[in-house]
Amino acid sequence: MVMQVLRPAIRKPNSAGLVTTTAGPDLCHILGTNRSGITRTAVIRKIIAYNNTGGPETLQFGTRDLAGAPAFVQYLPDLWVPNGIESIWNEVDIPAVEFSVLLLLLALGREGNIYVQASVANILVSLEVEEFGS
């Protein structure tokens, strides 16, 4: 028998709302933090993106490391976003990669907040996330 531990969670839109991509990683979602300073974790459950930039592009989802000049760390494989049509990924399509704070120093640490890095500016991105914690 497999015991499944109940992990209560809440669904919510990404905290940054509708994100228009730029050249760099763009913040999509800040993890919730409880009154004890403990941060929740989150899994992306839905992605919708619209690309009207003139050609097919890619999106990368990930977080940033905790180095002095934080660098993007990719968590999901590149997602292909064709031009002129909305791209939608649902829960069944997205692996349950958990975005979580990892308080190690420098490049080994992870900020945990969800970022999108697009291959081009001006792609519109919106997420639904499931947050675990308190």
């Binding site: 709302g17 800040i30 409880n34 009154r35 004890s36």
Partner: protein, 199 residues
């Protein structure tokens, strides 16, 4: 008819007594005897959902931002009335309760618990959010504050209340005191004891 067999039993909220039954309520540092004259349900409704951001007049609440305890007019009752309430939140906040001149409630020594969106996940009937407001002399009003525990800026921080309102009649000292033969007290031998705002 179902009753709450213990004040904080798990399950849907229900009156703690019948009309004409007796209560002993701790208030002003002593047990006071009452008889229930009327019990009125206060269903979950929009009137009893309040926005702490609007009450505090702060406009928005940033992540980890806090609203200090606010007096909630909807929780005020008249003298000889008791509000038996449970509460919930609608936004990604943690709401905390203060009573008796800003004494923290749900607060063991190590900290003050609150109610957030996860509370009904663990406690679907919100039984652990039960509290009491007894009207009358002294500062017995309830105050609620909150902290934004989500990652987003909030425009609303909503808290809702539901339960029962009891109209009570304070009883004279006509019942025998089991600990002091010959003395009369206001507490009926079958009274149900409850803490009201707490100690």
């Amino acid at each position: 008819m179902n009753f709450v067999d213990n004040l904080y039993s798990q399950g849907p909220i229900a009156p703690i007594c019948q009309i004409k039954e007796h209560l002993a309520i701790w208030s002003e540092a002593r047990w006071i005897g009452f008889e229930a004259e009327l019990i009125e349900p206060i269903p979950r409704s929009s009137q009893f959902v309040i926005d702490l951001i609007a009450i505090a007049g702060v406009g928005i609440l940033a992540p980890i931002g806090t609203i200090a305890s606010q007096l909630i007019p909807q929780l005020q009752v008249s003298a000889n009335e008791l509000f038996h309430a449970r509460f919930f939140v609608l936004d990604d906040i943690e709401a905390q309760l203060w009573q008796l001149s800003n004494m923290a409630r749900f607060a063991p020594r190590g900290g003050q618990a609150g109610v957030n969106l996860f509370t009904p996940v663990y406690d679907p009937w919100l039984a652990t959010t039960t509290f009491w407001v007894l009207g009358g002399a002294g500062d017995k009003d309830a105050r609620v504050g909150c902290t934004n525990i989500g990652g987003a800026i909030l425009g609303q921080a909503r808290v809702g209340f539901f339960g029962y309102r009891y109209i009570l009649k304070q009883e004279p000292d006509i019942y025998p005191d089991p600990k002091n033969p010959g003395k009369r007290i206001s507490i009926h031998p079958n009274a149900r004891y409850l803490p009201a705002q707490g100690w």
